[in-house]
């Protein structure tokens, strides 16, 4: 029959039309909440369904990537509150396809030697193409892709260059928006802390273990000293002593570096306040 094809098509349209409303009626007032919302967005959904943005928003998946942010230590962290995870190694700036990242490495005020910290960090979000390479290749898990996609502003010039202050977000934020990924990364690092902290802890633990061993060996040597092989036993003890001294030296150097870094931070902070 001529016209049958059109009727069939109209039937499909009508079915869609009805399905939209039956689903609305079936879920009633709960249609936008909880598992109802979920069902209507899933593969079982029928009918055409509209999300009333901005009143309602869809949850974005964990891996969703938008303009990056910098991870800083939580502000209530016991040891290093607000400390940057970034070490200013510059890999993100090199790998960035449209080259939208600028980093200025911090300098030691006294020795003028660079320290592993960003003095400044800028991302021009007008250029950023949200590819996620910076986060993918950062060896310190210090730059991550954000979920905040509402970046509209009334000024199109300087507000679109995000500085370090604007970019920095606490590590706990990253754990909230991407718990699975954060857990995977923590597992790869060997703990929830920054990789340097973990390394330092490990080193300290190893040094302590070594010191304990040396002490034990020395004690043993002392114990066996009256015995015939006194000369031979003295040699390892003598060797161990400088090694132990070495560890304390390293500790002192680390302490020194930390003090300098804090001084640099304080200086920078003062400068920021001056400028502000």
């Amino acid at each position: 029959m001529y016209g049958l094809g059109i009727l069939k098509g109209l039937g499909v349209t009508f079915k869609h039309f009805v399905a939209t409303y039956t689903a609305d009626v079936r879920y009633g007032l709960k249609r936008y909440t909880g598992d109802k919302f979920e069902t209507r967005q899933g593969v079982d959904a029928t009918g055409i369904y509209t999300v009333q943005y901005p009143e309602e928003k869809l949850a974005v998946p964990e891996r969703f990537r938008f303009v990056p942010f910098l991870v800083v230590e939580d502000y209530d962290h016991p040891d290093r509150p607000g400390h940057d995870w970034c070490t200013a190694c510059g890999i993100c700036a090199k790998v960035c396809p449209p080259q939208c990242i600028w980093i200025v490495r911090a300098e030691d005020p006294v020795t003028k030697r660079p320290i592993a910290q960003p003095e400044a960090f800028f991302i021009d979000i007008d250029i950023c193409m949200n590819c996620g390479y910076c986060a993918e290749f950062c060896p310190f898990d210090a730059i991550k892709m954000d979920h905040d996609y509402e970046l509209a502003s009334f000024d199109r010039t300087w507000t679109h260059i995000h500085d370090k202050e604007r970019l920095s977000k606490q590590f706990s934020y990253w754990k909230t928006i991407a718990p699975t990924t954060a857990a995977e990364e923590a597992e790869a690092r060997g703990g929830w802390e920054h990789i340097d902290v973990i390394k330092e802890k490990k080193k300290k633990a190893a040094a302590e273990a070594q010191a304990a061993e040396t002490a034990a060996a020395a004690a043993e040597a002392a114990a066996s000293a009256p015995a015939a092989q006194q000369d031979e036993a003295a040699a390892p003890a003598a060797e161990a002593a400088p090694a132990a001294a070495g560890t304390t030296d390293a500790d002192a150097a680390r302490e020194e570096r930390r003090r300098k870094r804090e001084a640099a931070l304080a200086r920078k902070h003062a400068k920021d306040q001056d400028e502000g």
Partner: protein, 625 residues
């Protein structure tokens, strides 16, 4: 890929090419010789005898399909330019690669348009971007840039006004210097380094006159009336560049006699950004997100083609590890889902062009949405996926589609990934394809508008280097997945969809067929995904961000939803392995499929132009590059 640990060997007619090359060399001992440069393949042909040799290749050896023709500028390496051609047999098998070299000054190469008319647009592109003159080309005009543009931008010594540096990473951006907005950096009057010989007075656009010349305008009406009874004049209508049916900024200059089309000339380049030169400044890795932006409907396929091309180069070195089996499975999963996405889109918008305003499109888009949700959960972005990497993929599939609500959003949607995929592939997609079929195929209006319209005969489809659904709807069963297999396609069971009438209706039907075939492939992918759960998705060291790519050339081609997408990449320069491609060329199906548009529209009514263009299915991001 040479390392065959996880992939079935590709032996289709491989010996055949060698025999053909040997026979050619015997036949033309003076004109044809092997290309012996490190990492290169194929033959070098004396440019003065190129047409004869090419004709022999086509007629005697059966290389009837010219896939890609592009130029390379070897400034500083050999100080010459060359045209690189990839010819295939439509019966399948690998490429016969041949090249013709020319000095850079007064570069000239005979046109192959008589042998393969599909060389038309590609030679115009090479003329436009490289300044090679093609002797014998009937319509040698600029195609992407405007007439009057100064210079040929793909030449290695050409510098654009806002030229920054030859290669990324740019020193100017890091670590010193004050922070500037990109806009300020590129503002007029700042950082403008014009070439020394640039004369601004020469920059005048003469495109319009050039376009209308030869259109038979300015007809002497008095004279016409003497011959014809009806007082008539030809009318020129500009469809586009801003016309909803052109799917972007695309323009067709149509000469009408009444309502009948006498000639049609496509004008493109409104979205031209010299993608290939950007690609040559990027590092190898940094090009992957840029390929997303070519055909932005099917970014997974774009990634795949580029990654395959670079992997061919990497395989020449000794550090290369072939992608793991799981990586290949995930790639095929993504690419086939992407084909569905594209065909939903194409069918929906073809119906839009036919006047069924937005109802079919919205039904199609609603299904596409489910796939995009999956892409977003896996790759992090719905359209700009940036998912494939050399030797693997970015990340394994997540366990769940939606983890937890985040701070910005308050709603929770949580699905197990495999459940989601299984339901999508086994239930939702087949159902929706059937529904589209039921909804549209029998409609009398669609039949009346499409059957017999925009006919493209198979010989012409091959000659014009058409690819994808356009070629197969004309009765040529040529599909790269079968003709020149890659990835794990050899072990998958699917048919190459073919239709024989070559009109709009068949191009619509073949997309439905291909969607069904894709679902068939996906159903075979699911058990493979289950089986390889937990295996590595990346081979080698994933933290390498500046891979050293061995010297040589490679051509990676995939069957993208719109047709054969090819990437011709050359690694040249630094002997340790350069950080940037020397040449990065995209053989864009949307661009080359437009070559026969004028022929297809001739004699049709003006209302059909829009439908014919819609049935080719172009994306301007890829056409204009």
């Amino acid at each position: 890929m040479t390392d065959q640990t996880s992939i079935a060997p590709q032996t289709v007619n491989a010996g055949d090419i060698k025999t053909a090359i040997e026979a050619l060399k015997q036949q033309f001992p003076d004109w044809v010789q092997d290309d012996t440069r490190q990492g290169y393949s194929g033959v070098l042909v004396d440019r003065n005898h190129l047409v004869e040799v090419a004709r022999t290749m086509r007629d005697q050896y059966g290389f009837d399909y010219l896939s890609s023709a592009t130029a390379v500028d070897y400034l500083g390496v050999e100080d010459s330019m060359e045209m690189v051609y990839h010819a295939y047999r439509t019966s399948g098998g690998p490429a016969l690669v041949f090249k013709a070299q020319t000095p850079r000054e007064g570069a000239e190469i005979p046109s192959l348009i008589d042998v393969w008319p599909g060389a038309d647009f590609q030679e115009r592109e090479a003329y436009d971007l490289y300044g090679i003159t093609f002797r014998g080309h009937p319509n040698l005009k600029r195609i992407l840039l405007w007439e009057g543009f100064d210079g040929h931008p793909m030449r290695k010594d050409w510098k654009e006004p806002y030229y920054e540096e030859e290669h990324k990473p740019f020193d100017s951006r890091w670590p010193k210097g004050y922070v500037r907005r990109a806009e300020e950096l590129n503002a007029f009057g700042k950082n403008v380094k014009y070439p020394a010989d640039l004369d601004l007075s020469r920059l005048n656009d003469t495109s319009e006159e050039a376009l209308y010349s030869g259109m038979g305008l300015g007809v002497d009406v008095e004279k016409l009336t003497a011959d014809e009874k009806l007082k008539t004049d030809r009318l020129v209508v500009n469809l586009g560049p801003h016309h909803p049916s052109t799917h972007g900024v695309f323009r067709m200059i149509v000469t009408l006699n009444g309502e009948t089309i006498e000639s049609l000339e496509p004008v493109m380049g409104y979205l031209h950004r010299n993608h290939e030169q950007i690609g040559e400044r990027n590092s190898w890795l940094a090009n992957i997100p840029y390929t997303d932006r070519l055909d932005y409907i099917s970014s997974m396929g774009n990634n795949h083609g580029y990654v395959l091309a670079v992997e061919q180069l990497l395989a020449m070195g000794n550090r290369y590890q072939a992608p793991t089996y799981r990586a290949e499975v995930i790639r095929v999963l993504m690419v086939e889902l992407n084909r569905l996405v594209n065909h939903y889109w194409a069918i929906g918008f073809l119906l839009n062009d036919l006047g069924a305003f937005f109802t079919p499109s919205l039904y199609a888009i609603a299904e596409r949405e489910k796939i995009l949700d999956f892409f977003e959960a896996v790759a992090g972005s719905r359209m700009m996926c940036n998912y494939m990497r050399f030797q693997g993929v970015y990340k394994d599939l997540p366990e769940r589609i939606r983890g937890v609500a985040n701070l910005v959003n308050d709603q929770v949607r949580d699905f197990n990934t495999m459940d989601y995929l299984t339901e999508l592939i086994n239930e939702r997609l087949p159902r929706s394809i059937d529904e589209l079929d039921f909804f549209l195929t029998d409609s009398e209006i669609i039949k009346a508008r499409t059957i017999g319209v925009g006919y493209l005969p198979p010989e012409m489809a091959i000659a014009y280097s058409c690819a994808g659904p356009l070629l197969r709807a004309s009765g040529v069963p040529y599909d790269v997945r079968r003709a020149d297999p890659y990835s794990i396609y050899p072990e998958l069971d699917f048919d190459v969809a073919v239709r024989y009438h070559g009109d709009i209706y068949d191009r619509y039907l073949i997309r439905l067929d291909e969607m069904r075939e894709s679902v068939r492939i996906l159903k075979q992918i699911l058990p493979r995904l289950e089986r390889t759960q937990g295996e590595d998705f990346f081979a080698g060291n994933k933290s390498i961000y500046m891979p050293r790519v061995p010297l040589g050339e490679a051509y990676g081609r995939v069957e993208n939803p719109k047709g054969e997408l090819g990437y011709y990449v050359v690694s040249q320069g630094d002997p340790k392995g350069p950080q940037n491609p020397w040449r990065y060329h995209v053989r864009a199906p949307s661009f080359i499929n437009l070559t026969p548009l004028g022929q297809m529209c001739k004699g049709q009514k003006v209302a059909d132009v829009v439908a014919i263009l819609g049935s080719i299915d172009i994306v301007l991001g890829e056409t204009d590059r």
